[in-house]
Point group: C2
Chain length 233, copies 2
């Protein structure tokens, strides 16, 4: 018998592609701003604007869109045309509509684990958009519920476990972000599996872990059943 009863999966870049679509928009944004003869580090300015806006606007596509509009103004020193502004807004809105593309192995592993574990999707960002993607993903048949948080910190994880009546040591979180999916989870005494994704938003890679943190790294979600088998008590 495994000591783990419940698994939480992060969504963006753990179950389905996300950052790669943001990256495509950032590339278009960069090219557009470059066409104004801007020589500043466009990616850095956009990222700083996003970070500055986080406490006010939260995560998600709409916040990202507003950050692009602000950065476009500042980077071009107010020279950007209204038409180009609207093109930027349009790119942001298109991010809300890209088809959900599951990562390799997700369907197989979900379907294998569902009979032995209670499965949750635990994500953050724009609830409207996350719920849409979850509905489109076809994963709901394997998943008890989706929790869409404003911030994935110790307190938020503790609250979820309390509300579903699961002890921390029975819970495993699986995700691509050390900051959001791993550190807070092991800090509350749960287990964590880190599955790095080749494109992870820079913000999620900035974190302050302590040397005592232990978690498991898997190359792919396909390794999860074997990892769980090693939890036999």
């Amino acid at each position: 018998m495994s000591t783990i009863s419940t698994i939480g999966f992060d969504a963006d870049d753990t179950l389905w592609e996300s950052e790669v679509f943001f990256g495509e928009v950032e590339k278009k944004f960069s090219d557009l701003i470059n066409s104004y003869g801007v020589e500043a580090d466009i990616g850095k300015e956009l990222y700083e604007t996003e970070k500055r806006n986080l406490p006010k606007l939260g995560y998600g596509v709409k916040s990202f869109t507003i950050s692009m509009v602000e950065s476009a103004h500042h980077l071009t020193q107010g020279n950007i045309s209204s038409g180009d502004m609207i093109e930027i807004v349009q790119w942001g809105k298109e991010l809300l509509h890209h088809p959900v593309k599951l990562l390799s192995g997700v369907l197989d592993v979900m379907s294998e684990l569902q009979s032995r574990f209670t499965i949750y999707v635990i994500t953050k960002g724009d609830p409207f958009h996350q719920q849409q993607k979850f509905n489109d993903s076809g994963l709901s048949t394997f998943v008890t519920d989706i929790e869409i948080l404003q911030e994935k910190d110790n307190e938020a994880y503790r609250k979820i476990l309390a509300s579903i009546g699961v002890a921390p040591e029975q819970f495993l979180m699986v995700g691509n972000s050390i900051r959001s999916d791993i550190l807070p989870v092991i800090e509350i005494g749960s287990h964590a599996v880190h599955i790095p994704h080749e494109t992870t938003w820079q913000y999620e890679t900035e974190h302050a872990g302590t040397s005592g943190d232990t978690y498991t790294i898997l190359e792919s979600i396909r390794g999860l059943p074997e990892f769980l088998a090693s939890f036999d008590s």
Copy 2:
């Protein structure tokens, strides 16, 4: 004994002021667009843009901000300056920070009802912003939990009642929007009290009620305890 055990309060324009702040921004927006010599119906164009964006962007300040940016472009036929665009974005962001101003009577009535009823706040919009306002409101001491929905429809109310284990006939919803707080609630067999607010967003007043719908209208939340007393069984 009352047959009602649980009360849900809408938040914006039921517990605290909201639409009046949007109205102030719309006035500034209108003046700004007018300064470009625009003769179109600015309010109507902005409202149509908001409605068009609703299925994609959802409710809330960030969606409103994006709709203003789009309307500004179209209304000025692309002539709006980057600086004015940023001013519009700034107005939107300021909407996220206005202090929470409770409506008259809210504190008295909440504090009177809390010992006899289980109280929920049931709202929609940007969860990040709604949660912030709730935290700032000082009402959490009276309230069991806040539910922030993407859409306040029959299904959403049914789901909440199921999850908190309350029968529809034991539930009363109180709010200023016929569309969101009244019609779906009486359709699922619960009770509803409409407290009109002098500024209610136009969208919330567009609805298709049937002649069989019955609900109670109160001029102020102060009338709620007396109304509840009339529910003696």
